[in-house]
Structures are given as C-alpha cells and as structure tokens.
C-alpha cells in the first residue's frame, strides 16, 4: 500500500520533529532559497507589468468562479463536441470509482500517470491498487516518492526533502521492484540519476495503453486542457497511450484560450522561476489518428462548492498551484511538507485543506495556526490570494467551535483587562511590584516561550504611570 497522510500528528507536534531533522532542513533551505532567487529574478525583470499581470490573473479567476456553473456547462459541451466524454465526481470516492471503471473497461491493469495534485488529493493510487491496477508515477520527483514509499512534501517538487544521495539509495534498492532496475554502478550525479529514471520510465511509456493526468487549466470555450511541465514525461503519457483520463478540479477553468496569455506568464515565473516552462501540452478532445483516441474528463468537486460558499475563504480556489507561497514561507522552509499532514502543504495547504475537508480533526484544526502571519505568501501569490486573511478567518471558525476552554478563558481575561484603562493600570502596577520574582522558566503554555527565550524585564512603572505623574507635576 502506498503511504497516506492519515494518522499523522497535528502540526505543532509534527513540526517539532521536523525542525530537529537537520538533514531535511538543510535540503529544504537550499532548495527553497535557490528557487526563491530564480523567481525574484524573472518577476523583477517584468517591472510594473508583474502587478498588472497579477491583478488580471486575480480578475479572470474571480470572474470565472463567480460564474462557475455557466463555465462548467460550457466546458462540458466543448469537450463532448471535440469527442471526449465528461464525468462528474462529487467526491474522492466517486472520482476513484469512475476512473477504476474506465480503466477496467480497457482490460488493462497498468496505467502511467502525469504528475497531478488532484489525483493525490483523492488518493487515486491507493484506490487503484485496491482494484488490482498498478499506477506508475512518471514525474521524476513523484517517481522518487513512489519508489521510496514516501509522501510528497511539495506541490511542485514532491521529493524536495530528499538529497541526491538519498535518491540514489532509493533507485538502487527499489527500481527493480517496479520495472527495469537501476544500474548497479549508479552514482549520485544528477545526470546519472536522470538517465536511470529515463531508461526505467521508457519501458513503461512504450508499453502502457492507459494514462491518467490532471490539468493546469481547462478552457471552457474550446474544451482544451493544458499541462505544464519540465521533463517531457507528461507529454509521453498524454500522447502515446490509447486511453487518457484527466481528473480536473472544477476550479481549474478559464473562460477562453486568450486568458492563457496571462497565466502562461504568471505560472512558470512563479513556480520554477523560468520565463517559460520547457513543455506545455494542450489537447482538445480526440484528434483522429493522433494521440489517445479515447478521452475522458473527470470533473472533481470534492468540497470545492462548499469553499465557494464562503465569501472570505473562496479566494483559495483561485490557486494555480505554483508553489511560490511554499518556497517563500519561513515556516515551510523549516518544517517541510510532511508536517502539515495534508496533500497540499505550506500556506496554501493551511487554507485549502481545512476548507476542502472541514476542521473536524485535530490535524485540520491546527493548520490555520501553522503561520506567523508574516504575509510573504500573499506578496508572492500570482493570483493575489490574501492567505493571512483566510488563515485568520479559519482561526475564527476554530475559536467559535467547542473546546479550547483554557484559551477561551485566557482571551476573556485579556479582554477584561483591556476593556478598562483602570483594570489595565491595576495589572501593570501589580506586575511592577512583582517584577523581581518573575521566574526564568514559566509553567504551562508560556513555558514554550521561556524554553528558548528570555522574558523582558518588567519595568517598575508603566508608561501611563509615568505620563500621569508627569502631568500631575505640571
């Protein structure tokens, strides 16, 4: 069975373990800082144009989401007109059932996969495995994660937490179980690793009759789907097999082909820090004699219409999964993706996952607090999702739910003090008197502060005491 996020501890606990893992932290620091610098370079070179593009990206997505029913019907019509079949899946179970049925109909027991967050979200590989179908990940980083029975830790680079030496180990030990083994003299040279995966994957590309993909965009007007990638492995899956099944979240729609002009600039620059990604594949239904002759589009809701109903939270559906917010996030940089216990890690994960699946579990409930609200994510987001605003909004929902008794009492106590200047003054005077006896290590939750940081000295007189004495002396 492939790995799953189920059963992971809530963020604070998982994060504690993660910050202590110095090897992973080193890998993450290096990777995030490299990609940040690349992004900054290609965003800055656009000058003021960048903010205009960003505003336009936000506008197109907001408009489309407001009229989503209309554009979804339009997309369905266009895809069908172009010879594809459209399926609607309200949740993960339904999507997995549809995909399993479609694969079974072909008589195949193997599929190749294009890197896709939607299929991660519905845990498709596990569902297929249970149905006796083997799904081969063909994106290099996804392949590493799959072979290592690991979990993805980044939207774009799922193996970002691993170094070259670790990847070499995984290839040497596991590749043979899935197909052609890695050469025994494999080194950790990036070219050697890429070559080993190339040879391993080629056999799968040539043999597979069915492919499963996601899509970065779906154009309502023409019924065209797009995948942007760096390796070309996705294109192999999209062109060689006979059957192609694409699983696409309903928020991936853009109205027209010309809207892509904006997103084709925003996405590569934000995600890999390139002006343009190496491979952009587009396909419209079925083209006779060229590529897969049987095409299915599975439109996935899985909580998205609930998110749409939340006037503050719905902006999360604008996300184009560029991962710029992960790369810039100081929290993500120190804990990595696994600590979030969610398919979508980092700042976007902290606002998307609790909205898609609700906040009934301790893990989901902890996610909105996995941020210092520093605002760096909002600043880089190419579709201007105000992530801090949504985080606070979700915190309000947690604070309004049952439980959290001691925190509620503390907050009520603080409000009572701040509700009256006299009360505040009394507390300040008491603190001033007790200043010599504040212990260096505090008990309870405050101990989380004093474990690593000293407290400031409490002054003998508050500012307002000083002010009042000064006024009296005049």
């Amino acid at each position: 069975m492939s790995a799953t996020f189920l059963g992971m501890p809530p963020f604070p606990e998982a994060a504690k373990r993660a910050v202590e893992d110095s090897r992973t932290r080193h890998n993450l620091h290096k990777a995030t800082h490299t990609i940040r610098a690349k992004r900054t370079r290609v965003v800055d070179e656009l000058g003021d144009d960048w903010q205009r593009l960003r505003a336009e990206g936000e506008r197109i997505k907001t408009h489309t989401l407001r009229h989503l029913d209309h554009y979804l019907e339009r997309l369905e019509e266009s895809v069908q007109r172009a010879g594809g079949t459209v399926h609607w899946a309200s949740d993960a179970a339904e999507a997995n059932a549809i995909i399993t049925r479609l694969i079974r109909r072909t008589g195949e027991t193997e599929v190749v996969k294009v890197k896709s967050m939607a299929t991660q979200e519905i845990e498709l590989n596990n569902a297929l495995e249970a149905a006796g179908i083997t799904a081969y990940e063909t994106d290099l980083a996804e392949l590493i994660v799959q072979l290592g029975e690991d979990l993805p830790s980044h939207i774009l680079v799922p193996a970002i937490h691993l170094g070259r030496a670790q990847i070499r180990e995984i290839f040497l030990q596991r590749m043979g179980e899935w197909g052609r083994p890695a050469p025994p003299d494999l080194t950790d040279d990036p070219h050697a690793l890429a070559e080993a995966s190339r040879v391993h994957l080629r056999e799968l590309f040539l043999r597979s009759k069915v492919a499963v993909s996601g899509a970065n965009f779906a154009v309502a007007d023409s019924g065209t789907l797009l995948v942007l990638e760096s390796e070309g492995n996705g294109r192999m899956c999209l062109t060689l097999p006979e059957t192609l099944i694409s699983v696409v979240g309903i928020e991936k729609i853009v109205p027209t082909w010309s809207d892509l002009e904006v997103f084709m600039q925003l996405l590569p620059r934000s995600s890999t820090g390139e002006r343009m990604n190496p491979y952009t594949s587009t396909w419209t239904g079925v083209t006779p004699g060229d590529g897969p002759q049987d095409f299915h589009l599975v439109l996935l809701d899985n909580g998205r219409t609930d998110v749409l109903a939340d006037t503050v939270g719905r902006q999360a559906l604008r996300c184009i999964r560029c991962s710029a917010c992960l790369n810039i996030c100081p929290v993500y940089e120190r804990v990595g993706g696994h600590a979030y216990g969610s398919v979508y890690p980092g700042p976007i994960g902290a606002i998307l996952t609790p909205q898609l699946q609700g906040m009934a579990s301790k893990v989901d409930e902890a996610l909105p607090y996995a941020s210092s609200l520093c605002g760096a994510c909002y600043e880089v987001c190419p579709v201007a999702i105000d992530i801090p605003e949504v985080l606070v909004h979700l915190r309000e929902k947690v604070a309004e739910s049952k439980g959290h008794v001691s925190e509620k009492a503390l907050m009520a106590g603080a409000e009572a003090v701040f509700g009256s200047a006299t009360a505040l003054d009394a507390v300040q005077r008491a603190a001033g008197l007790a200043r010599g006896v504040v212990p260096r290590h505090l008990p309870g939750p405050a101990g989380k502060w004093t474990d690593t940081r000293d407290l400031p000295d409490v002054p003998a007189r508050s500012f307002r005491q000083w002010w009042n004495e000064r006024e009296d002396g005049r």
């Binding site: 910050v19 607090y369 947690v398 907050m411 701040f418 989380k448 409490v458 508050s462």
Partner: protein, 246 residues
C-alpha cells in the same frame, strides 16, 4: 501639531522607555503630544488568534478614544497595521465603527511614516554612536509598506553606523500567539534571525516594533550574545546632550 499617542499595550506595560522616547522626540521637534488615558489595546492578539468579537469591541474603544485626534502616532508597525488593515474587516459596512474608521484610519501612522511623510523630516537631530542593524518587521515591510523610511531616518543619525542584515525580509518568528502555539518553529526562526543579527557585528538591533524585538532580544539574551535591542524611537530620541548625561 497636536499629536495623539497610541502607545500600545505591549509598550505601555513592558517598554515604557519607548513611549518616553516618542514623547521626547516629538516635543523636541516642536509638537504637542497628548496621551488619551482611556486607551488600552488595539485587539491584535484577539484578532490574529481568531477572537473576532473581542477584537471588534477593542476596535470600537480605539475609535471612540481617538475620534477627535488630528493625528495618531503608533510606535508599533503591527498595531498600526491592525488598525488600518483589519479594523475595516471587523466592521460591517455602514456601521458606526466603519464610518468612524473611514475618517480615522488615514490619520493613524506608524512613527517612521509620521516623521517622514507628515512632518517631512529625516534628520531629527539625533546622536547615537553605535553599530546598529535594522530588522524590517513583517508588518512594517509588507503590510504598511514603510520602504526605506526607517533607513533614511537611521542614516541621518550622527555617529550611527548602519550595518546590513542578511536575509533581512524574513520573519523573526514571533507572530503573537504563534510563538507559543508553535513554539518550536517560532524558536527555529528566531535562532536564524538572531544568528544573522550577530553575524553583522552590530552592538544594537533596532526595529519599529517591540514585540519582534522582544522575541529576537529574548533569544539573543538567552544566548548571552551581549547585543542590545532598542526601538527605533529610542535611537531617534537620543541626542549628544542626553548621551553625555547617561
């Protein structure tokens, strides 16, 4: 100009020197400072932790207290940002709070904004013979957009040597209740920030917000680094004459 000081609860309670420095500085520049004593807290902690209603009640108190002020100066970028960015979110449109904030919000300034934009001074006549490094706090940098204002003020201080902080724009990890709710990540961020500060060889770390300084300073002090922290107001308030006295 008659300037109303919103000291903030953290400064009032834990960092009165900052408040005294603001008063000294603004009076030295020839202005009258008033301190409306009804003021308490902007509600930032409640708001950021998800306690919306208490935050809204504190917003109403703030708006009532400062309604008639010509200008409100706040020596804390995060509190100034709370008032300007989040109070509108706390008030229903058309409500009394919304109407009050529409007129009040543009008159609320972080100290460095007020000096540079309203009083139009960068050389405030200060003297501070130390090696100083400036940490641009997240609220100052990204929410208020203070830009180079603090740097311009610091560069004009006589005797002061301004050093460059590596990875300056990265959050120090304080984040209010984040510092306890996610204490391990917060500390990890604080360690890295403290390391960068120490590497510069500075004697003093300054910022526009004492809460961030309390976090980085608490880390530096636990590490016995010997480095001091000072709110930018304290640097800008100090003069040669006062220096001779201390």
């Amino acid at each position: 100009m008659r300037i109303a000081l919103f000291i903030t609860c953290v400064n009032d309670t834990l960092f009165p020197d900052t408040g005294r420095a603001v008063v000294r500085l603004l009076e030295r520049l020839g202005h009258e400072v008033v301190f409306p004593t009804d003021q308490t807290c902007c509600g930032q902690m409640h708001y950021n932790t998800g306690y919306r209603r208490p935050a809204a009640r504190l917003a109403v108190r703030f708006a009532r207290t400062f309604e008639n002020a010509d200008a409100v100066v706040v020596p804390s970028a995060s509190c100034a940002a709370m008032i300007r960015d989040n109070y509108p979110r706390l008030s229903r449109s058309g409500s009394r709070l919304a109407r009050r904030m529409d007129s009040l919000a543009p008159r609320v300034y972080d100290l460095t904004e007020f000096l540079v934009d309203v009083l139009e001074v960068t050389d405030v006549g200060a003297y501070y013979p130390h090696k100083v490094v400036y940490h641009p706090t997240c609220h100052g940098l990204r929410f208020l957009g203070l830009g180079d204002r603090p740097y311009r003020l610091l560069r004009a201080v006589r005797g002061l040597e301004l050093l460059e902080l590596p990875e300056a724009t990265e959050c120090c990890g304080f984040g209010g209740t984040f510092s306890v709710k996610n204490g391990d990540v917060s500390s990890a961020m604080g360690f890295d920030k403290a390391r960068h500060v120490v590497e510069t060889g500075a004697e003093v770390l300054c910022a526009v917000d004492n809460s961030c300084l309390m976090h980085i300073g608490g880390t530096l002090s636990r590490q016995r680094s010997g480095l001091r922290t000072a709110h930018i107001a304290e640097i800008l308030a100090s003069t040669e004459k006062e220096y001779a006295r201390t």
